[in-house]
């Protein structure tokens, strides 16, 4: 049991005890949309980029480009209830409805902009909309849609597309002794080609000193985020998942000014540390259950987490694929592109040796076994998405290993990141009530097996 939390003294009406340091981080990404619109109005080039695990973000920033991320903008469309008309536009142009909700809403947005409005931003777009892109940066990391949906946008825009490569191995193959050097060489060659392309497109040279500065900032941002994650293992959990989701863009794709982001994350680290010192929880109710969420939340229904917080459900960790990886030692690396390659590759490969040691082929399952142990999870909330294969495919393995190895139960709730019609909050709350009995039962089972939570 972990009923040690003390309700926060302030703002007793809110079920989730939001971190004050989260709000300015959330605002940073919003500023990016405004800056990109301004840049576009001034005739400057702008970029739409896919999440690329830092491989391309930093060269783009070093070249002074304004970037927006349609994946992130789609979460905004969902959370403001603006997605439906764009989904309809995608459907009407012939795209299958089973495709990624983010992809469909971006396709619909592009269709509206270029086919209906002659290049103008759809007036119904929140936050002023995304400016018309002059470059599309796709990525081969984790999800096939990350390069296919931008390729599909060639139907609407004449912006060129570049696709970044990233090795994606099986666990056993990912630990071959000569692999690292060969992959780094591949990634450095890819980055060299990407930068040569950017220089040609923009008619100016890469600012290498600026790139090195940004890589250093990136490393520090990740180190700070890693420290925040480590503090979140405390009981009670000091930071609720909703605060992570609201503040992740400046770490996940370096939204906003990176020096500002680093300062704000340091503020967040201090606030979380203070909560840990004073045993203050991320919810304003006694922490009865420590829950881990996987993988992407129902952006359209985030208020649903308030109802669970009132029942003492503290979402202590979440979305492992969106967190900064364990920091690397870069002291022996001087070439900025090699540093960048290692920084990005670290996200994918850092877990393989542990998984192999644990006898598990699926690294996602290994990640969550570690999370369950380290965060002393009472249960997992698994959220397979009707329109996202990447975030859903491995969840049965996660469910199976959590139960077989650790007797940690899972609540399996199908839903979607964009389409709110497939998520039923009331039914889920009813199931959550029954799931509490399950969690209580398995606490006893774990204790009987000698586990300490």
């Amino acid at each position: 049991m972990s009923e040690t939390a003390t309700p926060a003294k302030t703002d007793q009406k809110r079920a989730i005890n939001r971190l004050k340091s989260m709000y300015p981080l959330r605002n940073l990404v919003q500023q990016d949309y405004i800056d990109t619109l301004n840049a576009s109005n001034e005739g400057k080039p702008t970029v739409w980029a896919m999440l690329n695990y830092w491989e391309g973000d930093l060269p783009l920033k070093a070249m002074g480009l304004n970037i927006v991320y349609p994946e992130n903008y789609s979460t905004l469309l969902a959370s403001t209830g603006s997605a439906e008309s764009f989904l309809d536009a995608s459907d009407s142009d012939g795209y299958p409805t089973h495709l990624c909700g983010y992809g469909r809403s971006t396709i619909g947005y592009s269709y509206r902009m270029m086919k209906d409005l002659n290049g103008r931003i759809p007036p119904e777009a929140p936050l002023g909309g995304m400016a018309k892109p002059t470059l599309l940066l796709g990525s081969g990391i984790i999800c096939d849609a990350r390069f296919k949906w931008f390729q599909a946008l060639g139907r609407y825009f004449d912006a060129p597309q570049w696709v970044l490569e990233m090795p994606m191995m099986g666990t056993a193959e990912g630990t071959e002794p000569d692999l690292e050097g060969y992959q780094i060489k591949f990634l450095v060659r890819e980055l060299q080609a990407f930068i040569a392309f950017l220089e040609k497109l923009l008619g100016r040279k890469m600012d290498w000193a600026r790139l090195e500065e940004l890589i250093d900032l990136a490393v520090k941002i990740h180190e700070t985020n890693w420290q925040i994650s480590e503090l979140r293992k405390s009981i009670p959990g000091p930071m609720h998942s909703t605060d992570f989701w609201s503040s992740m863009p400046p770490s996940l794709f370096f939204a906003g000014d990176m020096a500002t982001a680093l300062k704000l994350y340091q503020d967040m680290l201090a606030e979380v540390q203070e909560r840990v010192n004073n045993k203050i929880a991320g919810i304003n109710y006694p922490e009865k259950y420590r829950i881990v969420f996987s993988e992407l939340p129902p952006w359209h229904s985030l208020k649903f987490f308030d109802s669970l917080a009132e029942k003492g459900w503290n979402f202590v960790f979440e979305s492992r694929g969106y967190h900064a990886p364990r920091p690397l030692d870069f002291s022996h690396v001087s070439d900025p592109l090699e540093k960048l390659a290692r920084l990005s590759r670290n996200f994918i490969f850092s877990i393989h040796p542990c998984a192999l040691e644990d006898g598990i082929a699926n690294p996602v399952a290994e990640v969550y076994l570690q999370t369950a142990r380290e965060f002393k999870a009472d249960g997992f909330f698994l959220h397979p998405l009707i329109s996202c294969r990447a975030a859903s495919a491995g969840l049965r393995s996660v469910q199976d290993f959590l139960m077989k190895r650790l007797n940690v139960p899972t609540l399996w709730v199908e839903g979607d990141i964009i389409d709110k019609r497939v998520f039923n909050p009331q039914e889920t709350l009813a199931r959550a009530e029954a799931f509490e009995q399950t969690m209580e039962h398995y606490r006893k089972v774990r204790k009987a097996q000698g586990l300490d939570w």
Partner: protein
């Protein structure tokens, strides 16, 4: 024994109906059978090391049950069917299994296999880059080399240049013979039905390459002289899309009054349209599989590092091989089929339809869940489409 007594189309049908038949025989005689998923594992290396490549398919007539324990219902039902069959022991004649990162779920399948099916002991996952960039081809060559080393260890022998060259020649011969098989459907009416064609192709994926080549030679000879030619139909169609390893869709289309005369699918032309080019080394294999096989899973563009996208040129660079098929096989319409949740094909659909519109080729898009019963609601749409072509 069916295999020993039959040849030509009868043999193809027999193997199509029991794909593991010849594999079990060969295994009894001491041969090692290596199952592989999708088109990207280089089968030439398996053959060169004295083992038999066996392409793993699902089964549209087997209800998925066991897979629900390890896989969500929100992913490709074809791949779910494969893991379902594996969990039910239907691939127990395999000595090894090889997968490739051709799509996210396809790569994950090998991990599921390792975690839940557990046998056979040998398994390998090839990483396949997403672009045809020059560094990507070199990287993929390294991946093929890693696969070669792993398989050499399993086979207990080294792969020599000579063995590899001979294996590539054998597989190239098969590719050439398949192209000749497709030529038999250029006349109107075609000399071979699409169902017969698919039975032959599925048989090729279930036989050693030399036996497959013999089968092809016999089928081609028999068909050229056959008296019972297929009927002339209202329309000549092309079928496009991901894997379709069952004759049911072709039966449905042909019963609607059309002949399927050519395809762009990964059980059909994609595996056979290009040869591996000399010199016959690992780089040639990387070039063949990553660049020359035309599957939407690989990102291509009209010009490397182009500074501006020209939509028409982009479509031309991605689909011009389809234009050639349309011309050579005198195609009048196209059916674009896809298994549900196939992202790489799904994003392609409106662009390809637009391209076909430009060629004056009407098209119909249909989706199914890789079960025969999911085809029933499609029937009326196919009939109406064929009617419009008449």
């Amino acid at each position: 024994m069916v295999i020993a007594m039959t040849k030509g189309l009868s043999l193809a049908r027999g193997v199509y109906q029991d794909r593991g038949l010849r594999m079990r025989e060969l295994r009894k005689s001491g041969k090692k059978i290596i199952g592989y998923i999708c088109l990207y594992p280089p089968v030439e290396i398996i053959t060169a090391l004295g083992m038999i490549p066996f392409r793993i398919f699902g089964d549209m007539n087997e209800t998925i049950t066991a897979a629900d324990q390890v896989s969500t219902t929100l992913v490709c039902p074809f791949l779910r069917s494969i893991i379902d069959l594996a969990l039910k022991g239907k691939f127990n004649f395999l000595d090894g299994v090889v997968g490739a990162h051709t799509c996210d779920i396809g790569a994950g399948l090998i991990l599921q296999w390792r975690d839940f099916v557990k046998s056979p002991n040998f398994s390998h996952l090839l990483d396949v880059p997403h672009t045809d960039h020059a560094p990507a081809v070199d990287y993929f060559e390294g991946q093929i080399n890693s696969f070669k080393r792993h398989l050499e260890e399993f086979a207990g022998q080294q792969l020599t240049d000579d063995k590899l060259a001979k294996a590539i020649e054998l597989h190239n011969t098969q590719r050439k013979l398949v192209r000749q098989l497709y030529d038999l459907r250029k006349p109107d009416p075609p000399l071979l039905t699409s169902m017969e064609n698919l039975e032959v192709l599925v048989a090729l994926f279930s036989l050693p390459v030399d036996e497959g080549n013999e089968l092809l030679e016999n089928v081609i000879a028999d068909v050229q002289e056959r008296k019972d030619k297929p009927d002339k139909k209202k329309a000549r169609l092309l079928v496009w899309g991901p894997v379709f390893d069952n004759t049911s869709l072709y039966e449905l289309i042909e019963s609607a009054g059309a002949s399927v005369v050519v395809d762009d699918t990964c059980v059909g032309t994609r595996a056979f349209w290009a040869d591996v080019k000399p010199p016959y080394d690992l780089h040639s294999l990387a070039q063949h599989y990553l660049v020359d096989i035309k599957c939407p899973r690989t990102y291509r563009q009209a010009q490397p590092a182009e500074l501006k996208k020209n939509y028409d040129k982009d479509l031309e660079s991605r689909f011009d091989y389809i234009k050639k098929a349309v011309t050579d096989w005198k195609v009048k319409g196209a059916i674009l089929q896809s298994v549900k949740y196939c992202d790489t094909h799904g994003y392609e659909v409106p662009n390809l339809r637009h391209y076909l519109d430009g060629l004056g080729i009407p098209s119909l898009y249909i989706e199914h869940d890789y079960s025969e019963r999911s085809l029933a609601p499609i029937k009326t749409r196919v009939e109406a489409f064929v009617e419009t072509l008449g």
